[in-house]
Symmetry: C2
Subunit: 336 residues, 2 copies
Amino acid sequence: MEIKAWAIKQYKQGLTKYTYEKNVGENDVLIQIKYCSLLKADIFFIDNFWGDTKYPLVPSSEMFGVVVKKGKKVNNIKIGDYVGVGYQTDACLKCTSCREGKEQFCNKQRVIAIHENGGLAKHIIVNSNFVYLIPSNLQKPEYVSLLGYGLTSYSAIKHANLKKGMAVGVVGLGNLGHIAAQILVSKNHTVTAFTHTEEKTTQLKKIGIRRFINPLNEKDLDKNKGTFDYILVTTYHDYDWSKFIELLKPEGNLHFIGLPNKNISFPAILLADYARRTVSGSYIGSRKEMKELLLFAEKKNIRALTQVFSISEVSKAISILRNNKGPFNIVIKISV
Amino acid sequence: MEIKAWAIKQYKQGLTKYTYEKNVGENDVLIQIKYCSLLKADIFFIDNFWGDTKYPLVPSSEMFGVVVKKGKKVNNIKIGDYVGVGYQTDACLKCTSCREGKEQFCNKQRVIAIHENGGLAKHIIVNSNFVYLIPSNLQKPEYVSLLGYGLTSYSAIKHANLKKGMAVGVVGLGNLGHIAAQILVSKNHTVTAFTHTEEKTTQLKKIGIRRFINPLNEKDLDKNKGTFDYILVTTYHDYDWSKFIELLKPEGNLHFIGLPNKNISFPAILLADYARRTVSGSYIGSRKEMKELLLFAEKKNIRALTQVFSISEVSKAISILRNNKGPFNIVIKISV
């Protein structure tokens, strides 16, 4: 069938209407898109920042919609279900990682923008194994980002095995960071926001953040040496990461879910001396974690501070994101 | 009392006889030194490589000896006991780390070469809390390095939480590396030695290593991408650490107990993409782990491939170590 979408057809071109062919396979569902997000990561794909973009590119890797057709082997989803789709759209479900329930590590996985067309479209066809039922309380634009940035944050924090009341920090309080910070706050950790964007402070206070450090102020960093159990990096900006390792307690962990432009660089002695520190990183999460997150988010009201744009405003939204001048989260209304 | 030792009195001077004053405190024991090791780390201290050496420097942070006097509050050690002392000689035993049995993280700890005179001496006076009883089977020069390099390896490997039969690697097969490799072999892991020193291969095969990769051969590294659960770095040499992170499976760990000269540097995406990888480091181990190691080493015969030098040959030993031309392990016989 013909899928109507919006795409960047070639590198450096703007967004235009675009149609592609795809059929509903026996394990697939056809989803009519209600909302999709546009993230800074979409801009990186649009601009081929990582070098692996496939054009024509239909952006957006977080979306809500309603199932309008399904393949004959689909049992887990019904026509009419309100569902979400995230960055990962398929995996082999046979390899060691998949069998261990860690299909986000599968070598044969498919993801939006590299292997698949995204959510900035009237419809999408996705394997039903990677489609998630959205609880009725969450069927609103501010919950769309749970599917991508929410999952990435939730999975990283879950595997950090934090103990009650630990001192945690979030570096970068943008779209990804403000969701991650809410999850940490809702788990009763003392959250410090490392941000130099003072105009965000009022809004960040509203989502439960009480403590702020400017990551560019060396004196403030030095004063807080050895005081953090966990620091979650959600930014693509470059900092002197040695300074952040020094902020950690002896068994502290600096974890990257944002991917800074330049190499992470530090002397090994900062990990080892009087300590057993860890630098780690992770990538989205498993399907099991997605389901856990949706329940958790409903209970704790984890959501993105969102501004909704109509489809006619999508080029404006891209421009706002590219210039880092936007709200925390942008969601495009497709058919509501 | 007067302690007779050998010291580097000033930066760039050779080793000469040296006497210092110290009294046996109520918690201390006086140990007559039998054997002490000389490590590459001692050369780094002698040459003030890390910039924190205090001269006069009495080197050696691994030693065996016999207790000849004890303070009135010492109950855990008797006169005549055959004992060992390692790099750490004291800690506050009151801070959070100490109370959790992780006194190697104590901010007030004392260590040889920075705060204390070392084992290249007729005697040493040490707080009995940091003195370890040596089982009779281990009272030989090849077991002296258990106190330092053995503990460092044992503690790192213990906290790696490896599962049976995991694929592990050791980068650098010198003094530290050949002890670490034996511990991994004795825990039934498949150990790959990353070494470009072919003349060591025969001896390394004798201690149970079956698989070798030249870390300078990019083709061999590329062929083994994604195949290791754990890689332990025991060298101070610099490699492209990105290549070693790429060798890891999705949840693999690259752990530093050797401290390379230059910064560790890699793109964050290597930790995160399709994975949740970890780079970590650690430092010696706890007193509890030292006691565990001594039992483990006795059972599994973990020892250093050692050449014994007399005290009259000590300057020769230093020169051999400085030029990286020595045996795996050098032990100085002081009074046997």
